[in-house]
């Protein structure tokens, strides 16, 4: 049974970990414009994470604010999907991850606007507009790389194949949640498949379906990410500038 607290925590953790990963590209992107774009998208994800984690903390009622949830939980307490914690890989892997994440977040945030919870509805109305830009951006890159040179196509196909298994966790049925993720699968497919087709990429077969993020069982990559993200706050609790 997934209450609103667990649900807000999952969504907030997805956005937070995605923001941290995207932020790793800053000063390392293949071109200046892309550096700025990835930093902007990371900032949008961080904004969503702050709203969702603040709300989760209020729902929990134990006095934890966004910072306590972001910086003072250990890996097993995080509820993000495995997709967002995977390393950035090359640029194609990052774009495959972003395409799948935004094609999931857009219908999810849209569904929030009608989920009956006023706070979640307000968050959804705001974040879905930003998600639409993320989806647009990643779609363009996947098409450009897939339908590009022999090398870019090889890398883009490899990235899609590598990341695809992790998309299945996103849609695990949870009828008790404010939005049942299983209901989002059709919207996801309707967006992602035409992008892959236009990119001349082969749609991956359903197969291996790694999962566990929603119950706190993560890949080892999350632990390293958290170590970097949390170290400053833990060394200097409550630091401000």
């Amino acid at each position: 049974m997934t209450g609103r607290y667990d649900f807000a925590l999952r969504l907030g953790d997805d956005a937070l970990i995605a923001a941290q990963r995207l932020g790793e590209w800053t000063t390392r992107a293949p071109e200046m414009e892309e550096d700025i774009a990835l930093a902007n998208i990371a900032l949008d994800q961080l904004g969503a994470a702050r709203l969702l984690l603040t709300y989760a903390g209020e729902l929990e009622g134990a006095g934890r604010d966004e910072d306590a949830l972001a910086f003072l939980r250990d890996d097993r307490e995080f509820r993000n999907c495995l997709l967002v914690e995977l390393p950035n890989g090359d640029f194609a892997v990052t774009m495959a991850k972003l395409l799948f994440l935004s094609a999931y977040q857009l219908p999810l945030y849209t569904a929030l606007t009608e989920c009956g919870d006023e706070r979640l509805a307000a968050i959804g109305a705001k974040t879905r507009k930003e998600s639409a830009y993320h989806l647009d951006h990643s779609s363009l890159w996947v098409k450009r790389l897939g339908d590009g040179t022999e090398e870019s196509r090889r890398r883009m196909q490899s990235a899609v194949d590598q990341v695809w298994p992790y998309t299945q966790e996103l849609f695990a049925a949870d009828p008790a949640a404010p939005v049942d993720p299983a209901a989002l699968r059709a919207d996801f497919d309707a967006v992602v498949f035409p992008v892959l087709d236009e990119a001349t990429l082969t749609r991956p077969e359903a197969g291996w379906a790694p999962a566990g993020g929603r119950v706190g069982v993560h890949t080892e990559h999350l632990s390293y990410l958290l170590a970097e993200m949390q170290v400053l706050h833990r060394a200097h609790p409550g630091a401000n500038w």
Binding site: L43, E130, A132
Partner: protein, 157 residues
């Protein structure tokens, strides 16, 4: 200067040619009739907008200068900000500062189809997008094919 005017005159810290009122992020200025305490309500353009803290403190400072030292600034997220809330005066100021203002957002689509964006320098519609994301969360980077000048475009949202 009353509380409303003082809050409305605060400029956006990242686009310093336009006020928060013209940008449409100033949602309300209320004064408690009994205590006289002022509450200002604002909404962010983008959820992660890093300018919000500066805007809050600028509002408090402006109100203190206008005789309201204990003003409260509230942030609301609903209804979500839209570029349609930018006033005509605000649009004119953006253009004058070299930032192409956004086209109207059509209710039916989430991301509006981008129609021709006019170069804010020479007025030519022969422009192209360089990047969907620009120097701040709310802008995209464009270039004019007529005068070759790159420019910022406030994205329709």
């Amino acid at each position: 200067m009353n509380a409303r005017q003082a809050a409305a005159a605060v400029v956006d810290p990242e686009i310093r040619v336009i006020t928060i009122d013209e940008l449409g992020i100033l949602r309300a200025v209320d004064q408690d009739p009994a205590t006289g305490r002022v509450t200002v309500t604002i909404t962010p353009t983008y959820t992660g907008c890093p300018a919000m803290d500066v805007i809050r403190s600028d509002i408090r400072r402006a109100l203190a200068a206008a005789g309201h030292p204990d003003a409260e600034v509230r942030t609301v997220y609903s209804p979500a900000w839209s570029t349609d809330w930018i006033s005509d005066a605000g649009r004119a100021k953006l253009t004058a500062a070299g930032i192409a203002p956004p086209a109207p957002v059509r209710a039916a689509t989430v991301v509006p189809l981008t129609l021709a964006v006019r170069c804010p320098r020479c007025g030519s519609p022969e422009t192209e997008q360089i990047s969907r994301f620009g120097s701040t969360a709310c802008k995209a980077l464009w270039r004019c094919r007529s005068c070759s000048e790159p420019f910022d475009h406030l994205k329709a949202l």
